[in-house]
Symmetry: C2
């Protein structure tokens, strides 16, 4: 099982339309990726680990798949539409990584 992490840094000047993201973008992503997508999470950064510090990431999203191949086969044909929707909710370039689920 793998997870694709999409991390949106909380930069100065960053904008992020959480309402659009939750009600339009993520449902569209779920529909386009189809049954290969085994689960998704969206978390909104509240605060850093030390009192008075800010969260490094305003939004952290994960998409779960059975394997890297399952992700790539589902994502690549839909990449243009999914990535083309990003400017509708943010001006942030997210950090993306693929992780292996250990626990």
């Amino acid at each position: 099982m793998i997870k694709v992490y999409v991390l949106y840094p909380k930069n100065s000047g960053a904008t992020f339309d959480m309402d659009y993201y939750l009600t339009k973008h993520m449902p569209m992503v779920g529909e386009r990726l189809g049954p290969a997508l085994k689960g998704m999470t969206v978390d909104h950064g509240l605060a850093g680990g030390q009192p008075g510090t800010d969260a490094a990431y305003g939004v952290i999203t994960t998409l779960r798949f059975d394997s890297v191949d399952a992700f790539q086969n589902a994502f690549i044909p839909q990449a243009a539409e999914i990535q083309g929707d990003i400017p509708r909710f943010t001006n942030i370039a997210p950090t993306v990584q693929i992780s292996d689920v250990k626990m």
Copy 2:
């Protein structure tokens, strides 16, 4: 519901003993935090989002609680022991943030 993210960057010179982390550290954390801890995940970074790039984080861990208060009440009395164990598996200072679960 909130999640505490603990993100271990993949710096040059970074060391991380995944076996100790999974078999000793995380079970100890689970025991010390008790029933306030509603779930935990550990993911191992494999690759970046673009072909040929590396993952930004070698390890991303989440701990789930009902609220920020529930986390703080469970964690603060155990913080010294939990944080004191970190040098046993890594020389990386993790990035920590608290996030609100949206999806």
